[in-house]
Amino acid sequence: MSALVRRLGYGGTLCLAVIVSFALLALFAPWLSPYPDQGMGTPNVIAKLKPPSADFWLGTDHLGRDVLSRVIFGARVSMSAGLLIVAFSLLIGLPVGLLAGYFGGWADEALMRVTDVFLAFPALLLAVLLAAALGPGLLNSIAAVAVTWWPWYARMARAEVLVLRGQPYVEAASVMGVSQGRILIRHILPGAARPLLVQAALDVGPALLTASSLSFLGLGILPPTADWGKMVDEGRKFFPDRWWVSAAPGIAIFLLALAFSVLGDALRDREGDKRRDAA
Amino acid sequence: MRCATVKGTSAVTLLDLQGLSVTIPSQAGPVRAVRSIDLRIAKGEIHCLIGESGCGKTMTGMALLGLTPAGAQVAARVFQFDGIALSTSAAALRGRRIALISQDPAAALNPVLTIGRQMDDVLRTHSPHSKADRRAGAVALLAATGLPDADKLMTSYPHQLSGGMQQRVVIAQALATGADFLIADEPTTALDVTVGAQVLALLRQLVADRGLTVLMITHDMDVVAAVCDRATVLYAGLSVETGLASAILTRPRHPYAKALLAALPDAAPHGQRLAAIDGQIPPSTKAISGCAFAPRCPAAMTLCYTVPPPARVQGDHLWACHLAEGAP
């Protein structure tokens, strides 16, 4: 425990706790939420738009469903969206950046021009266009965002590789006759992946927000699945009188995105300290 | 070969340092960067502080400038510069009476400002004359360090100059502060041999012309032989021998000084093994009882491990050792 605090600081550890809590909620949603079937979408019209009470801790929405249960089930969608977006972007961007940076030449030029095209568009706009083109659905919206995000990771990876390529220990390896593939995997990849993973942690928050924005706009999750962005959108009509319908999912988005951001910051500070000590 | 002779040095002591210690707190315990160093430098002298990594020579220089790391505890029995107590006034003297010339001239100069601007910044702080006067002063100082085309140099940027020229600019800046005591921390290590020789010659000339005093921190015996009048050898944060540079180089008394000189490549005939020193310096986190060099000394006796060595004197040559002079 103290090792964790040393690594992340008190803020970072708190954020990790928040994230883990949300993850547990998402994993065990059917058992942790008070009204699981309502969380999954079954309407309960009798209890329409009730304020927070002992029965419904966060009130009910316009179809009478328990907002708390909806938020807990929504965690599944939002967390997986945030993490999958970042994971796919990394999976595409890291190899592209590695290859472009290590081999240089025309491969580098070609790949970088492709990333230039993607980076020329405002990310959210491009994501909206792609999501609209692909049609509704969670996987489609994740794919749409990942496609707009991978160029950033490719660029970052390439920059790291360019630095690493010139390091004396990498040079020593090639002088020894180590094959290029082995150099890439043993020396370059670990060095390049580190800062990228830190950046990825920082990016889960914005990824989550982007995914929520897409579903807020109506692209993404199909009802009745609980999704925080969609819930905020649905609750707009009742704001500010029945504030809980929008506020609850909104605060959830805020908390989780903030937790990832602060955690990423803590990781980055630690990374920065390590780099400084090693210098 | 020539060794600088002690000429023109007055008997006036400019720097009097006795029992300096610098301890830096750390997670692993207190780090004794400097355990106990005595240093006495006369006006007009070029004094070399000789030692290998970890001996505390750079930290001593920093203590004189008041630039030890935050949290470091600096203490001394006597800690005086020209009669002024350094424990309180180091910051005030820095840049006024005491200037620093460090190892990497490129790092000491601001890459985005012209030489003229950087010289002017110094002159403005120390001699508030008119702009024209300051400019003339700057050009004169640059010329005094042997830089050709000093006038043209005023509009150049540091990266346009070679390493040797950059170091001369740093020296000119030091002169511009009006300082009479220069601390030169390995000023030639980053320079080529031939260029370094010129910089050392310049320092010697400036000392003679302007009555400066120099503390030269170095690990290179060639530097000591070329410019130093007197020298002090450091080991593990302690001063172990001090005397005339020529005396230390030809007849060192302390076993460490002897071993150090014997380990030089030209101390052994071609192709033969060099006299390396076994072992390593004691860790700076550990306190030392007895003599710091005892574990590595070929002539160590049981006494050396328990009792700190007494100071031995022969004229103006001092060293700390239990062995009588003449012992192997």
């Binding site: 390091q167 002088v175 094959s179 | 390493g163 015996m221 060639d222 030809t250 380990a263 005939p269």
Partner: protein, 265 residues
């Protein structure tokens, strides 16, 4: 008469200039030739900009060569490429100036020493472990260093690891780039002694590049002084040190010869 292990003939290395209209850059290495007999040590001395590093990097095939030839053990070194070059590289060991930069900060000493063996295609196992242990002890290091990382070692110890790594594939030629310049005098003495011992035990040829003439004069059979890309003086060490032809060579001997000491080079 043993055939030379390494010969360089009229080598020219020129770095490209940028820009369409820029004049061709001066060559970093300007028609340099040298010959290193087997079992011999050649000291290549020069200051910054002399071309000694470029010459070294050309021999290591790290920079392209404009013209000239390099022969290693009878083979046309510059004609080999690709996988054949990787295999051929096993016959040259390289030790760089700063061991903390040339040893991977992430790997353990054991992994660092295993790397060249794995590159040759050796299978990990008892035989490899034995070889690593032998290398380590030959270079004066205890076996309990194996799980440590480079940053836990002192400068001298780290350089010993670098030397051990360079010897892993039993090369005949060892190329060293300022191997002791970053080390203290006392540690330098230990490393130079180690190099002399290894050279004697394994019949190595050494190409020792440095700016410090006195260090290399102690070890080298031949000396070569470079300046501005050209060789200004070359010959047997004894001759160069006692009767140098060029005043530049004399300047390089340091601005303070040791005086009062009886030892002669």
């Amino acid at each position: 008469m043993t055939a030379p292990l390494l010969t360089v003939h009229d080598l020219v290395v020129r770095y490209k200039t940028r820009g369409l209209f820029a004049a061709a850059a001066k060559p970093a290495v300007d028609r340099v030739s040298l010959s290193l007999p087997a079992g011999s040590t050649l000291g290549l001395v020069g200051e910054s900009g002399s071309g000694k590093s470029s010459l070294l990097r050309a021999v290591l095939r790290l920079v392209p060569v404009e013209s000239g030839s390099i022969t290693v053990d009878g083979q046309d070194w510059l004609a080999i490429h690709g996988p054949a070059l990787r295999r051929a590289r096993h016959s040259i060991g390289f030790v760089a100036q700063n061991p903390f930069l040339s040893l991977s900060p992430r790997l353990t000493i054991a992994q660092i020493l295993a790397e060249p063996l794995l590159a040759r295609g050796d299978k990990p196992g008892a035989a490899m472990q034995d070889r690593i242990a032998v290398l380590l002890s030959r270079c004066g290091l205890p076996l309990d260093f194996l799980p440590r990382r480079a940053r836990e070692l002192s400068g001298g110890q780290a350089q010993r690891v670098a030397i051990a790594r360079a010897l892993a594939l039993s090369p005949r030629l060892l190329v060293l780039d300022e191997p002791t310049s970053a080390l203290d005098v006392s540690v330098q003495a230990q490393i130079l002694n180690l190099l002399m011992d290894l050279k004697a035990d394994f019949g190595l040829s050494l190409l020792f590049v440095t700016h410090n003439l006195k260090v290399v004069a102690h070890l080298a059979d031949q000396l070569m002084v470079m300046r501005h890309g050209c060789v200004v003086e070359a010959g047997a060490t004894e001759k160069v040190m006692t009767a140098p032809e060029q005043s530049y060579t004399r300047e390089l001997m340091g601005f303070g010869q040791r005086f009062g000491h009886d030892a002669k080079p």
